[in-house]
């Protein structure tokens, strides 16, 4: 039988980034992950693990979709309990905490942030992604507190953008965390930001690219190709793009289709929206897929296992 396989002539690999640290690795997490390392298009080679699924939650639920508040119930009022449940009951691999409390006007409770991060670190053993403030004036204080609270835990901190990356870079460097670098659906802007971060001293294996994911029907066509192009350029040898990617289609729960659905169908629609976006994003190169609906997790997990099944090309 003839050997039938695709030929791509790739010259480079995606870098590996470590998220989370177990006891042996100097932290307290029950698991840690190495993402990246790919040498060809996603899933065309033996993959050590399926894409990871991060469950997104926040510390002030009034900022969250009512669909999720209704589905999850009272647990949303305690980010620590919510995170625990996300691991033990929803089946998430990672927790992504949005410190939405920092969006309040004249926010100054920096000690409170630190306590919240610490409470999650003790309630769940999963590695954490922490999203800091939206307000440049308090960035520095917020990220330092997050970094400090998670010292030794190899957090993934978010989110650096072209206009504001110094505070988060400083916190990541000071406490040896990684960070998310987000650019608006454009391969050149993604590269530019990574260069800025490199010049600031952030090691390239501490960067995860967020190409910005417009959800299904609302920009996903652009995000999908931006991700494919980033992966392609990385494999062709562009070291400033050779980082793993994270995708979070945060608008999935607020798109018209989901908002206008009958209440009885809203959960199912939200889950399908997150699922179809998430699986297509993973095929384009996302190694962490973030969701907000608990039911999206197991559905994606089943598909990711089938997608990452160990296999070789076509024809033996």
């Amino acid at each position: 039988m003839m050997e039938v396989s695709a030929n791509f002539d790739w010259t480079a690999n995606i870098r590996k980034v470590v998220i989370g640290a177990t006891k042996n690795e100097g932290g307290t997490r029950t698991s840690s992950f190495r993402i990246g390392g790919g040498t060809t298009l996603p899933f065309l080679e033996k993959t050590p693990q399926p894409p990871l699924i991060a469950f997104e939650l926040c510390d002030t639920p009034q900022y969250w979709s009512p669909i999720i508040r209704n589905f999850c119930g009272d647990v949303v009022n305690s980010p620590a309990e919510w995170a625990k449940k996300a691991g033990s009951s929803y089946g998430a691999d990672l927790i992504r905490l949005y410190l939405t409390s920092t969006r309040q006007r004249n926010f100054s409770d920096f000690g409170g942030i630190k306590k919240t991060v610490e409470s999650l670190l003790s309630s769940t053993g999963l590695p954490l992604i922490i999203e800091g403030s939206n307000e440049p004036k308090i960035d520095s204080e917020v990220f330092l507190k997050c970094g400090e609270a998670g010292q030794g835990e190899k957090l993934l901190l978010g989110t650096a953008e072209a206009g504001r990356y110094r505070s988060i870079a400083a916190a990541a460097l000071a406490y040896n965390h990684s960070l998310i670098a987000q650019s608006p659906i454009d391969i050149n802007l993604a590269k530019q930001l990574n260069i800025l971060l490199r010049e600031t001293g952030v090691p390239p294996d501490h960067i995860v690219i967020d190409p910005y994911t417009g959800t299904l029907g609302y920009g996903f066509e652009y995000s999908y190709s931006a991700m494919e192009r980033i992966r392609f350029s990385a494999l062709k040898g562009d070291l400033d793009l050779a980082m793993p990617m994270i995708c979070s289609a945060i608008d999935s729960l607020s798109v018209k289709e989901v908002r206008d659905a009958e209440p009885a169908a809203q959960d199912a629609l939200a889950v399908q929206w997150e699922f179809y976006t998430g699986i297509a994003a993973s095929v384009a190169g996302a190694e962490i897929v973030c969701v907000r609906h608990p039911q999206s997790i197991m559905k994606l997990k089943e598909a990711f296992r089938s997608l990452a099944q160990i296999n070789t090309a076509g024809g033996e």
Binding site: M1, F8, G217, E302
Partner: protein
């Protein structure tokens, strides 16, 4: 490998007879090299020359039309692995599967659903494409009956799935003239299947889990005179599909293995993994996808994904510039200016609707660029804002003279005020914050 125009020219008769429609043999050769002409147009080529040219000059993936009439559609004739290299041309057809063990009213209902259901997004009606009838009963008679029911209900593209050629033959009595697809030929039955396909003018699916064997089968079927083929790589897992489908596509478009140059068939009806298979079939080169009737939610999500992936990535989708109303805005309603990039528009529109504040969206023509890129490139300028205000008569729509601009356009605020005379309020950078912003900042 593909032949160059000059290599092809050497094989042509060099008579410049114009019978192919081209002025010279050289121009015909150039068209052949680009995959834009068919060798059969030249009446003077012998069979040998045709077979040499045929394999290298036809489009790398064969163009097929599935079904006849209004709902027929084309698949194949694709050229790229990544949509950003060019675009994907022919979106996959989604076929809802009916089993011949189901009651006839159920079969008719599913058929009617494919006929009638439309989901409208961004001004386009999205639909399923056809019905796949599967012989689950084992009886040729039941299968023929089920096909007859589908036929009587609607004129839709059909796929007939059965193991035995006699079973397919019984059903083809009812639909044989409508170019149905029959599934599937394998090493054991391909001659009989080819005979059936020739007799009724069917499209034929060839099935094998091994791509080498799939290529050989396709070649053997073509030699039997059946060239309208689809390839079923028989995936058990999502990984099987992505590996086989990507490999087949790559080898076909590079003409490394031209016998894989046919559209891909995917059976996605695999229980709880159906949504995964369907999503993967859409993004990774499926052309005919069969699934069990989808829930309304899965239908919307999958049809939206297909619309996204088959949108030409080189054209930013643009909105028409002008004034759009949210709710029933009065003369004192806020005016929110933004660009005509559709993603920006729909995102902002969504958040404005959920804020429940009636307002006007004022869309300026940045040729589909986002706020950031339009500001950076100078397309979003104070003169554009001034001219757009005049052109669309914004003065007559509201009694005030205040305009809210995107946060990323803040550097333009002074200049816009100077040239337009309107007071500029700088809004948030993130559309998600617009509701809160309006509640707090918009006071008359």
């Amino acid at each position: 490998m593909a032949l160059k125009a000059l290599d092809i020219y050497k094989i042509l008769p060099k008579k410049n007879c114009k019978e192919c429609g081209d002025p010279t043999c050289l121009t015909f050769a150039m068209k052949l090299a680009a995959g834009k002409a068919d060798v059969d147009l030249c009446p003077y080529l012998d069979e040998n020359a045709k077979s040499v040219l045929g394999a290298t000059t036809r489009p790398p993936i064969r163009l097929l039309t599935i079904g006849v009439g209004e709902r027929s559609f084309a698949v194949g004739e694709e050229f790229v692995l990544y949509r950003h290299d060019k675009t994907f041309y022919h979106q996959p057809g989604i076929f809802l599967r009916v089993l011949d063990t189901r009651r006839h009213d159920e079969i008719a209902a599913i058929t009617a659903r494919v006929r009638d259901e439309t989901f409208t997004r961004v001004g386009t009606g999205l639909r399923f494409n056809g019905v796949a009838v599967m012989n689950a009963s084992g009886s040729a008679e039941a299968f023929a009956k089920a096909v007859e029911t589908v036929e009587k209900t609607a004129d839709l593209p059909l796929i007939l799935i059965a193991d035995k050629t006699e079973t397919l033959a019984a059903a083809l009595v009812h639909c044989g003239t409508y170019r149905p697809v029959i599934h599937a030929a394998d090493r054991a039955n391909f001659r009989e299947m080819c005979a059936l396909a020739r007799q009724h003018g069917c499209l034929l699916v060839v099935r094998a889990p091994d791509l080498g064997e799939l290529a050989n089968l396709a070649k053997d079927c073509a030699a039997e005179g059946v060239q309208d083929l689809l390839l079923d790589p028989a995936p058990e897992s999502l990984n099987d599909f992505i590996v086989r489908s990507t490999t087949a596509r790559q080898l076909a478009i590079t003409r490394t293995l031209p016998d894989l140059g046919y559209p891909i068939y995917l059976d996605a009806a695999k229980g709880s993994l159906q949504d995964g298979f369907l999503a993967l079939g859409i993004v990774k080169y499926g052309s005919a996808i069969v699934c069990d009737p989808l829930t309304p939610e899965a239908a919307k999500a999958s049809l939206t994904l297909r619309q996204n992936i088959y949108t030409d990535p080189q054209k930013p989708i643009q909105m028409n510039p002008g004034i759009y109303r949210i709710g029933s805005p009065g003369k004192d309603a806020p005016v929110l200016l933004t660009v005509n990039f559709s993603l920006t528009f729909f995102t902002l529109e969504g958040y404005l609707e959920s804020s429940r504040i009636p307002c006007l969206m004022f869309i300026i023509d940045t040729e589909g660029l986002s706020v950031l890129t339009a500001v950076a490139s100078g397309k979003f300028s104070e003169t554009l804002v001034r001219d757009s205000i005049k052109k669309f008569g914004l003065e007559n729509e509201v009694s005030h003279r205040k305009i809210i601009i995107p946060g990323y356009a803040a550097p333009l605020s002074g200049r816009i005020e100077e040239v337009s005379g309107w007071k500029v309020i700088v809004g948030p950078r993130d559309a998600a914050d617009i509701g809160e912003f309006l509640h707090e900042e918009w006071k008359q």
